[in-house]
Amino acid sequence: MTANGWVQILFFCVVLFAITKPMGIYMLKVFDGSYRWLGFLERPIYRICGIDEKEDQHWTSYAVGMLLFSAVTMLVTYVALRLQGTLPLNPQHFPGVVDRQSFETAASFATNTNWQSYSGESTMSYLSQMSQLAMHNFASAAVGIAIAIAVIRGISRRSAGRIGNFWVDTIRGTLYILIPFAFVLALLMVQQGAIQNFSPYLTVPTLEGAKQTIAMGPVASQEAIKQLGTNGGGFFNANSAHPFENPTPWSNFLQMIAIFVIPAGLTYTLGRMVKHQRHGWAVWAAMFILFFAGTTTAYWAEARGNPIHAAEGLDVKASSLQSGGNMEGKEVRFGIANSALFAVITTDASCGAVNAMHDSFTAIGGMVPLVNIQLGEVVFGGVGAGMYGMLLMVILTVFIAGLMVGRTPEYLGKKIQSREIRMVMLAVLASPLVILGFTAIASVLPAGLKGLNNSGPHGFSEILYAYTSAFGNNGSAFAGLTGGSYFYNTTLGIATLIGRFAVIVPALALAGFLSERKVVAESVGTFPVATPLFVGLLISVILIVGALTFFPALALGPIVEHFLTSARVLF
């Protein structure tokens, strides 16, 4: 680890802290309708779509709206991908995408996962990228933010199950937050050197005299929303490691901040909406501590490098001449600190963009992203998804520990009883069911084992990572796993759908139930939700629930690999 690396990490932390409040206030005002500087666009949209913006929906209608919207957009994408060959803006004349991949891609993008079992530059036309994938990048992110806002409304309101209007929330999130921010970010990316064109691919002679095809495309615009909406689906297969997607350390910094800006801001919005700003900051603090711990661990593990190298007498120390540590699969222009930081951010959030190959990380360095996703991506998390996921954990914390103060558990004055806890546990249960279930199937079925490029614990980690990433709607890949088969396309597609909707629907139900509860007065006897003690407790619950669920699987993957590497065994 170097001073330079730490300065960059700390700079990121400071900027993250600084943007939280302004972003939070902006989102608060957008969703309560008091900032309407794009009203001239917003109102006609309502008129054309027949949306009554005053309508306050019951949580069931809200959920049905969300499910319908997701289903229809997913179907449209499936059809568009299948028919790609007959549609315009396809200078490379790519044929239609195969059925299994079309399903998986449609599911994956509709759920904000962006798991890609294909290489963008050799599979997707410009039309598919821009009209379908980019559309989902906006829409799925807007849905996520809408859900988070709706859940917070349920907590803060007393409104007999009514938690806002899905259509209004989604449109406002897109119009006021995603489009303007993505627009600015895209310009910044272009300024840094990301490409934005519709040219056919270039063929250039290399220095050795060989011919190389260089992929082109409207990259910067895609890139902006890919980060901002925590989507993560790269234009190119190399994702943010590709120099056209992420050319400079500055563009890298912007990409990292873009991932966290909305999730971090939402903690402030939470504080304002529930009228308990210190609670909002407590949630921020819990997220930040987990983020910082993850970053430190990953940076330490990567900077330390492969113990075998050191044992062989190789110089792995960082110096002015070399990065040192484990540079396999990392870009030299980012180095170890920025690669570790990016890996942690992209998996804390459900982004999944990568600027280095997680598969090439050391065992512990690679376990950090894996654990981040398994904890539910609640460390800032995906846009909206991180917030409602975290609120589920907050309620679980309040329920387990709340009794210890001698009162029946309550969260911000709302009693947590069997209906609420049932919803929380439904959402929590989905993750071991899908992740462990599918991993178990894949690790014994020939169809699953066939996709492995590595054996032993590392191969196991690859399978575990794939389903974890799919369920967590992350979309980053450990790589090393050949995901393009009927078995993986189908099961991973299903995992993304369950990971999205088996969490959202209980979260909306929870919000509806809480909005039906009357508010209990606060006193010194009330469970504190804004103290350091609460922050510690919340972190413990997140870690313990995650660890208890996944410890056996982790022990057989990265943990044993770590010990074996120390014993000089590689896979």
Binding site: L403, G406, S418, M425, T526, L556, F563
Partner: protein, 689 residues
């Protein structure tokens, strides 16, 4: 019932509980508790695997046998805990049953004719029947006294040997079946059918027969069930993972891991904690109608306490006479004494005594003589708020300032301005001013005021401080004027007061508190308290109260001690804390168990995982066995804690939370590391593995 309390680990109770632990193995009972049901299924599976091992001859019989045995112990220990908690209640129910003798009732055909009765067994009585009970009779059923006054021995239900007076009308008209008339006679209208009487309900409650899961218990059961499912997924998928790694796990090993991980500690003790909480209330002589109200007691934000009898001693004492100008203090004392002669209240008597001590005025006989004719007593009523005597053409009245002023004006007098100053001064000092006025020959005048002083009970300030520390506000309810109320409130240390309270004001106050999201607890005894008792979240009726009050409340205090409310709240809080602490402990335990079992499971395949064997346990078999044994023994070890409740000291939530987290959270992580290692060492020492 004080005499019926049992020590926590009475030999006889333990024997019965041990027997019941086996009886509770029936699947129909076990399925109510999903966590322990899973352990039961696991025990059966392991036992089958044992049989299979014996028949086929492969594998380690000794190891599987020990695992099976300890798994069965785990289930039995949990059942034992529940049986222990029920045991104490059962013993009490048995004594209650004995007290409910097969009494004969003297059924009256006509309540106005006391002589025409028919002897019938008490079980034949129905609601609406009239019975007569004379000295020596056991009251055959719950009822309302319609005629007569008698002293009644209620020790059978309250444990209090001093007899109490029951009389018709007023707030002491309720009688309970099973109690005994000691003197005089009563005519009673029966208000409960056999099987529905108070004593029947009490037996059912202490036995836990009518026990239903409380809302929080249901929610907690959902959490524990979900955790159980998560661990089942973690354990079930471990087999394919093992196959991938090139090995395979046996059924006893997988079941052991599962049982160690699922929250058996809290799962096994949850119902015992609930029953024990009810039992602690019963030890305090409070009968709760449901567990729900005990939980609500823990959540209470506001306590409404009647001033008289709760915060202050019941009787106020006259300490000073303040005449208005134009009246001598002797004159006032004389008139005050005269007006109080027939007044049997403690206040009235203290006035007579004060006049006698200060001015040597003898207590005179009520009735004709001494210069006045036949004296007619005008009793105090809530409507007039004054009392007094009439004789000849003279009327004497004493009462609240405003009501006397009204009376004086109505009787053609004027109210001197000085009396206001006197009243205000007494009030500000926390006394109750009792204004004395007379009317002679149709002309009324105010004589002065008597200073009645309230005596605040000792130790109340400290108790209110404790409540405040827990975030509970106390509101004093009093009929006194605001000035008096404020002074007493200050002296007693309550947070707020409601002065000049009428029953409907109390109701309004409860509604207002509740609409602000606060839970309210109160005590009451009179019929006019009944609506408020029903409205309050925790309504504690005094056993001496009327039948209406006892039915409206959700708890009955057999000692009729209104300050008991504070203990009730503490018991409620303690119950919830115990539940939370043991849940935390149970979940925290899993960390150590993982470090014991996971390396043990895969040591053969991945020797490198031995690095996770932080406890340096002897062998995979000893590690698994030690974990299972620890898991079983911890249930037994925590039974006393579950029954007694966690240590409870009033403090703000943050401080309580920190303390319990340190003990049960961090302790829950550390203790199993030590425990499992210790058991492992012993197992190796006795060559069990």
């Amino acid at each position: 019932m004080a005499a019926l309390t049992h020590s926590l680990f009475d030999q006889k109770l333990m024997t019965i509980a041990a027997r019941d632990a086996f009886r509770k193995l029936s699947p129909r009972h076990m399925v109510r508790n999903p966590v322990m049901f899973v352990v039961l299924v696991g025990s059966v599976l392991t036992t089958l695997s044992l049989v299979h091992t014996i028949v086929t001859g492969g594998g380690s019989i000794g190891f599987t046998l020990q695992i099976s045995l300890w798994l069965w112990f785990t289930v039995l220990f949990a059942n034992f805990a529940e049986a222990m908690a029920e045991g104490r209640g059962k013993a009490q129910a048995d004594s209650l049953r004995k007290s409910r003798q097969e009494a004969m009732a003297k059924l009256l055909a006509d309540p106005s004719n006391h002589l025409d009765f028919e002897l019938v067994p008490a079980t034949k009585l129905r609601t609406g029947d009239y019975v007569i009970c004379v000295a020596g009779n056991v009251i055959p059923g719950d009822g309302e006294v319609v005629e007569g006054v008698a002293s009644v021995d209620e020790s059978a239900i309250t444990g209090e040997s001093a007899p109490v007076v029951r009389e018709s009308g007023g707030d002491r008209s309720a009688v309970t079946g099973g109690t005994k008339v000691l003197s005089d006679w009563l005519i009673i209208r029966i208000t409960a059918n056999p099987g529905e009487t108070f004593i029947d309900r009490m037996i059912a409650l202490v036995e836990g027969a009518t026990r239903q899961k409380t809302p929080n218990e249901i929610a907690l059961t959902i959490l524990l069930s979900a955790l159980t499912i998560i661990f089942m997924l973690a354990v079930v998928t471990l087999q394919p993972f093992a196959i991938y790694a090139g090995t395979s796990l046996s059924v006893p090993v997988l079941v052991s891991l599962l049982v160690c991980l699922i929250p058996t500690t809290i799962g096994g003790l949850l119902s015992a904690i609930g029953i024990a909480g009810m039992d602690r209330l019963i030890q305090q002589n409070v009968i709760a109608v449901s567990g729900r109200s005990v939980e609500a007691a823990g959540d209470v934000n506001t306590l409404l306490l009647d001033k008289t009898g709760t915060i202050t001693l019941g009787n106020r004492q006259a300490v000073e006479f303040f005449p208005v100008p134009g009246t001598t203090v002797e004159q006032l004392a004389d008139r005050a004494q005269l007006s109080s002669l027939p007044d049997e209240t403690p206040e009235g008597r203290s006035i007579v005594v004060l006049a006698k001590e200060r001015f040597k005025l003898r207590g005179r006989e009520v009735g004709a003589g001494e210069g006045h004719g036949e004296m007619k007593f005008v009793p105090f009523s809530a409507a007039t708020r004054m009392s007094g005597v009439d004789f000849n053409s003279t009327m004497l009245r004493k009462g609240a300032g405003d009501s006397i002023a009204k009376w004086v004006r109505e009787n053609g007098g004027t109210v001197p301005r000085e009396i206001d100053a006197i009243v205000e001064r007494i009030s500000r000092e926390g006394g109750t001013p009792l204004v004395v006025a007379e009317s002679e020959h149709g002309k009324a005048r105010v004589l002065g005021a008597i200073y009645l002083k309230d005596i605040v009970k000792g130790g109340m300030r400290e108790r209110f401080d404790r409540l405040r520390a827990m975030g509970i506000r106390t509101i004093m309810i009093t009929g006194d004027n605001p000035l008096t109320a404020a002074a007493i409130a200050k002296e007693a240390g309550v947070d707020d007061f409601l002065a000049e309270a009428k029953p409907e004001d109390k109701m309004q106050l409860i509604r207002r508190e509740q609409s602000g999201g606060r839970l309210v607890a109160m005590t009451g005894d009179g019929t006019n308290d009944a609506p408020a008792l029903a409205q309050a979240d925790v309504g504690v009726a005094m056993n001496t109260g009327t039948q209406a009050a006892r039915e409206a409340g959700n708890m009955v205090d057999l000692d009729s001690n209104p300050t008991k409310l504070i203990e009730i709240v503490e018991i409620g809080k303690q119950l919830l804390m115990t539940r939370g602490s043991l849940t935390t402990f149970s979940i925290a335990n899993d960390v150590a168990k993982y470090f014991a079992i996971i390396p043990a499971l895969f040591l053969a395949t991945y020797p490198a995982l031995g690095a996770l064997n932080l406890m340096r346990l002897h062998s995979p078999q000893s590690a698994i066995l030690a974990s299972v044994i620890f898991n079983a023994l911890i249930i037994i070890a925590l039974i006393p804690l579950a029954l007694r409740g966690v240590k409870y000291r009033p403090a703000p939530a943050g401080i309580i939370l920190r303390r319990n987290l340190v003990i049960y959270g961090i302790g829950g992580i550390i203790i199993p590391f030590i425990g499992i290692k210790l058991i492992d060492v012993i197992l190796v020492f006795v060559h069990a593995v």
